[in-house]
C-alpha cells in the first residue's frame, strides 16, 4: 500500500505536466467574443429542431420512445387502412352498384369483404393474374349493365 501511495505520488507529479499545457497566446481573449458572436448569429434560444436533436443526442430514451411511437402510428395506419377498405364502399360507390347490379349466384358467392387479404390486392396491383376479383367484362357482368340517362326531365 505504501509503495502504491509512493507510485501515485510520482504519478501525481507527472500529471503536473498537463497543468502547463496551454492554448496559443491570446486564445482566452478571443474565446468570449467568438461565443458572443455565435449567440448573436445563431440565436440565443433554441429552435424546435434544435430541441429535438438535443433530446435525441442526450436522452436515448427519448429516441426509443419516438421510434416506438412512430412504429405504433405506422402499424395503426396500416391496420385502419386495411379495415377501412370495405367500409368505404358505401351505397353510392361504384363498388356497391357493381355488386347490386350482379345478382347472379356466382357473383353473390364472391363477396369482396370475405375474400382473403392479399398484398397484391390492396397495393393496387394491376396484374389480373394476382387479383381474385371477377372481371367486369365477363359474360355475367355485361348482361347486368343498365343504361342511365342524364337528361333532365
Amino acid at each position: 500500500m505504501n509503495s502504491d501511495s509512493e507510485n501515485f505520488e510520482a504519478l501525481r507529479k507527472l500529471m503536473a505536466i498537463k497543468r502547463h499545457e496551454t492554448p496559443p497566446p491570446g486564445y482566452f481573449d478571443r474565446l468570449p467574443d467568438k461565443i458572443a458572436h455565435r449567440l448573436v448569429h445563431e440565436g440565443g434560444s433554441p429552435g424546435f429542431w434544435d430541441k429535438v436533436i438535443a433530446n435525441f443526442s442526450f436522452r436515448p430514451s427519448f429516441a426509443y420512445s419516438f421510434a416506438l411511437a412512430a412504429f405504433g402510428a405506422l402499424t395503426f395506419s396500416v391496420i385502419s387502412t386495411i379495415k377501412g377498405q370495405p367500409q368505404a364502399s358505401g351505397p353510392t360507390s361504384p363498388d356497391f352498384a357493381w355488386r347490386n347490379g350482379a345478382p347472379d349466384d356466382d357473383f353473390l358467392d364472391q363477396d369482396r369483404s370475405l375474400q382473403p387479404l392479399h398484398l397484391a390486392n390492396w397495393m393496387g396491383n394491376t396484374n389480373p393474374g394476382a387479383s381474385s376479383l371477377p372481371s367486369l367484362f365477363s359474360q355475367g357482368a355485361q348482361s347486368n349493365v343498365m343504361s342511365v340517362s342524364y337528361a333532365s326531365p
Binding site: L11, I17, P23, Y27, I35, S45
Partner: protein, 216 residues
Amino acid sequence: MLLTKPEMEKTIERPLVAVFDEAVEAEEIDDLTLVRRAQSEDMRAYDLLVRRYQERIYATVYHMTSNHDDANDLAQETFIKAFRALKTFKGDSSFYTWIYRIAVNKTINFLKQRKNRVQISLNDVDFNAEHDPDLVALTSERTPRRDLNLSELQEKLNEAMLKLSEHHRMVVTLHDVQGLSHEEIGKIMDCNVGTVRSRLFYARQQLQAYLSDYLK
C-alpha cells in the same frame, strides 16, 4: 444647466455601470447575481461568466480530448448550450457545478461518438513548467524520463490518458489535473463520492501500468 431626460438617464446610468465594472473586476459580484442578469438577456453579465470559467472549462475538455480544436469547439458549445438553458437554472447547485456538468456530458457524448478516431493535437507546455517543483523533482531524478524532453513526456502521458475509459479519464482530469475535491466531482458527474474514489483508484492503477517505465 437643464438636462434633457435622455441626458439625465445617461448621467445616472454611467456611475452604476462604473460601479458594476469595478465590482466585477474585483470579483465581488457572485455568480448568482450574474446568472440572474444573464437570465434577463444581459449579454454583458453572461460574457463575464464566460470569462470567469472559460479556462477551467477549456482545460477540462482539452485534457479529455487531447486535441485543441475539439476542445475549442466543445468549450464554445458548452457556453452556448448553457446560455440557452440558463432559464432552467434554478440555483439549486452552483453555476460552477452546473456548467461543468454540461461540459462533462458534452465531452463524454462527443468521445463516445468519435470512438477510435483519435487525433492528438497537443498544446505547448508553457515556460513556467520548467520551474514547477513537481516537474523539477521528476527530471532531476535518474530515471528513463530524465532522457526524455518535456514534450516527449507530455506525449506519453496523453497517450496513456487516452487509453482510459471516458469516465476514468474524467475523474483523473478533474481531480489530479484540476484539483477538484471528490465531493465536487461527485456533484458534477452525478455519482456518489465512493464511486469517484474507486474510479480514481482504478484510473491511477491503469496509468501507473501504462507509464511504469517513467515512474521507476
